[in-house]
């Protein structure tokens, strides 16, 4: 489909362009909602739509007032801080535990591989509302609800499947003779791990970690059940904003979050290419 063959008849030609048009429309559907918010977050008036002045690019129609609002409102800064504390702690835990588990799962001698993999992936499959309800009862019993520890534990559990999956995928292309070579050259197991294994699987580990971070950073259902006022995160704050009174401040926050996603996406994409290069697959 990439190129129209020279022998294509008029019908095929028409279809070719119609098809491209359809695809363009679908891409617009995917990306437009995210793009539309960005200019609206600079709206000088508290409206969610483009006013004639904005379309005429009149500078008076644009302002930074909603961004100023985020900085002035201590609640947003506070929840941003919480989001980062919980996200980073959960990511570190999930990455460490997940990478170790993936190393074990990739060994040929691993017993009960299927069952264990199923259990480790389950936090990703079970609907969040069931997870949240279950954790709410159980953690309350041990005084862990409305604490950072409780939320970090929950987010770690939710993030590990991503680490396990990405690191296992990276390890599937790993040449195990390198470990034997390293041992043969006299390196200890620890040294082999840090000097040989780690550099090769690091792209997988980092992108798994980023997935875990995004999972925690974006998670709201468990937070709704487990957090008190002290542990409010950005998604929790946005949730309250959308439910109660939707103000353009939300659009400003959303725009900032989109920028963060773009940055994360870029990092993951670069890592993927590096990993493919290391494994000898040409990125094209």
């Amino acid at each position: 489909m990439s190129n129209l063959p020279p022998y294509a008849g008029p019908a095929e030609r028409t279809w070719y362009y119609t098809y491209r048009l359809i695809c363009a429309a679908i891409f617009v559907f995917l990306i437009a909602p995210i793009i539309v918010m960005v200019p609206l977050s600079f709206n000088a008036e508290p409206y969610f739509t483009f006013r004639p002045e904005m379309l005429a690019l009149n500078p008076d129609a644009f302002s930074m007032r909603w961004y100023q609002d985020i900085i002035d409102n201590r609640q947003w800064l506070f929840s941003m801080k919480n989001s980062f504390i919980i996200g980073i702690a959960a990511t570190l835990l999930a990455t460490t535990l997940g990478t170790l588990a993936a190393l074990g799962l990739s060994r040929p001698d691993m017993p009960y591989k299927g069952v264990i993999m199923g259990i480790l992936i389950s936090p990703m499959i079970v609907p969040l509302i069931i997870t949240a309800a279950g954790l709410f009862f159980f953690y309350s019993r041990f005084g862990l609800s409305q604490t950072f520890v409780g939320i970090i534990m929950a987010h770690t559990a939710l993030g590990t499947p991503f680490v396990v999956i990405t690191v296992t995928a990276t390890l599937s292309g790993f040449d195990t003779s390198l470990i034997r070579a390293s041992a043969g050259l006299g390196a200890s197991q620890t040294r082999t791990f840090f000097k040989v294994i780690m550099p090769l699987i690091s792209p997988g580990v980092i992108s798994g970690g980023l997935f875990a971070f995004v999972t925690s950073f974006d998670e709201v259902v468990v937070v709704l059940f487990l957090s008190g006022f002290e542990q409010r995160t950005i998604p929790r704050q946005m949730w309250a904003g959308i439910r109660e009174q939707i103000s353009p401040t939300i659009l400003a926050v959303a725009t900032i979050l989109v920028c963060i996603s773009i940055a994360l996406l870029t990092v993951v994409e670069l890592l993927r290419r590096r990993s493919e290069r290391l494994r000898g697959i040409s990125p094209g």
Partner: protein, 420 residues
């Protein structure tokens, strides 16, 4: 490991251990090593995730409230044959247990539990507790009848007796719109109380609809991405991955901005004269809003598996089909599409699993008509506090999802899942 033969046909290592044994030990050591690497995460997930969920599931069958509050009464009621009224001993035990101040907390719980069974029990218990205290001696049968005539009906006592087990199926029955009548027989709920089966059906329809919509939208662009030269397709892939990486709440907000009555789309429609200003289309806070937003949010989960399968299909098959005389349409349908079935299966099951447990989007943009089963679980968890029913609804949902998960594992293999 140097291997020597001892002449009797048994292979031994240099230090005299039979080879078979030495190898078995080596494998065992390797197995333990592998397991030790997995153990920390396994223990962590079991404690912080699996046990809490199993614990919640026990709530869906346990009902200790009534027997905890009224142990002696229950002991008397068990002897009763269920017709007419219970013996005086049961009334006396009830009076004693209701007058006991220390029992107040448990009585409250029991009343709440019975209230889910038949409304009115909470007030009946409150009233009776207050009044029976003043009755110093029997016959208690008449005293109770005087407080409320419901105590003189065998149905009331039957409900208490039926709720007296430590384990119950009543929450699961409620979750499928059934109940036990006073005689203990399973019967359908009155029409006005039948909501859950409809809601399960709606959830399945919506998930199915979202899956189909995702497939219809994802198929063409996955094909385009898989057949374009890598440079272009990598660029276009960003348009799929950016929504994938963007916060759920951000995407939901975006749809509110686009779809609401005074939103961007309606403004466009008015501007182009498709609708007039008074009749702006209601596209959000209803089922339409739920469907659109969920399709948008779950679409990347369809594109990625489809793309990775299509990427492996060699273009030579299509060319061969064409050269053998098939027209482009036949070649595509008969030769290309069958090869994409694994991708269709993987993407569809994944989207369906995610859609069926969806909570956030329906809660924010679904309005009344767009609520799904997850939203009702939340309602029973946080508002009506009928935790047993919430757990039973969750249990049914979980069973459905585990079946699909198992299917996915069989078809695709869970370790084949990929992101980005």
């Amino acid at each position: 490991m140097a291997v020597v033969s001892d002449g009797a046909g048994m292979l031994r290592t240099a230090d005299g251990v039979p080879l078979k044994q030495a190898l078995a030990r080596a494998t065992r050591v390797n197995k333990i090593k592998a397991f030790l690497l997995v153990a920390p995460l396994l223990v962590f997930i079991l404690i912080t995730f699996i046990v809490p969920i199993l614990d919640m599931m026990t709530r869906s069958v346990s009902s200790p409230e009534v027997v905890d509050a009224l142990p002696k009464t229950i002991a008397e009621l068990v002897k009763w044959d269920g017709t007419d009224l219970p013996p005086e001993a049961a009334f006396a035990a009830m009076a004693a247990e209701m007058s006991d101040k220390k029992n107040k907390f448990y009585l409250g719980k029991a009343a709440a539990r019975l209230n889910f069974q038949k409304s009115g029990f909470r007030s009946l218990f409150n009233k009776s507790q207050r009044k029976i205290k003043r009755v110093k001696q029997g016959p208690f049968k008449d005293a109770f009848a005087k407080i409320d005539k419901r105590w003189a009906q065998s149905a009331t006592w039957n409900i208490i007796r039926n709720a007296s087990g430590r384990y119950t199926d009543v929450h699961y029955l409620n979750a499928i719109d059934m109940n036990r009548d006073p005689a203990g027989e399973i019967a359908a709920q009155p029409k006005i109380k039948r909501i859950y089966v409809t809601l399960f059906e709606r959830t399945i329809y919506v998930s199915f609809g979202v899956t189909i919509l995702c497939l219809i939208l994802a198929y063409p662009i996955s094909y385009l991405l898989a057949t374009l030269p890598l440079k272009t397709s990598n660029l276009l892939m960003i348009l799929v991955l950016l929504p994938f990486w963007t916060s759920l709440l951000v995407r939901t907000t975006a749809w509110i901005v686009l779809l609401q009555a005074n939103g961007v789309l309606n403004d466009l429609f008015v501007f182009f004269g498709i609708v007039n200003d008074e009749n702006r289309i209601r596209m959000i806070y209803n089922m339409t809003g739920s469907l659109i937003a969920m399709t948008h949010i779950l679409m990347p989960f369809m594109v990625l598996p489809l793309y990775s399968v299509m990427k492996t299909i060699s273009p030579t098959y299509m060319r061969a089909a064409r050269s053998l005389g098939a027209n482009p349409f036949t070649a595509f349908v008969r030769v290309y599409m069958p090869q994409t079935v694994p991708g269709i299966g993987a993407g569809s099951i994944l989207v369906f699993i995610l859609a069926i447990g969806y909570y956030i989007t329906p809660a924010l943009v679904g309005g009344q008509s767009g609520q799904l089963i997850s939203n009702l679980i939340e309602y029973h968890m946080k508002k009506s506090l009928n935790w047993g029913l919430a757990a039973a609804l969750g249990g049914l949902l979980l069973i459905g999802i585990l079946v699909l998960y198992w299917l996915y594992n069989r078809i695709v293999g869970i370790d084949k899942m990929k992101f980005g």
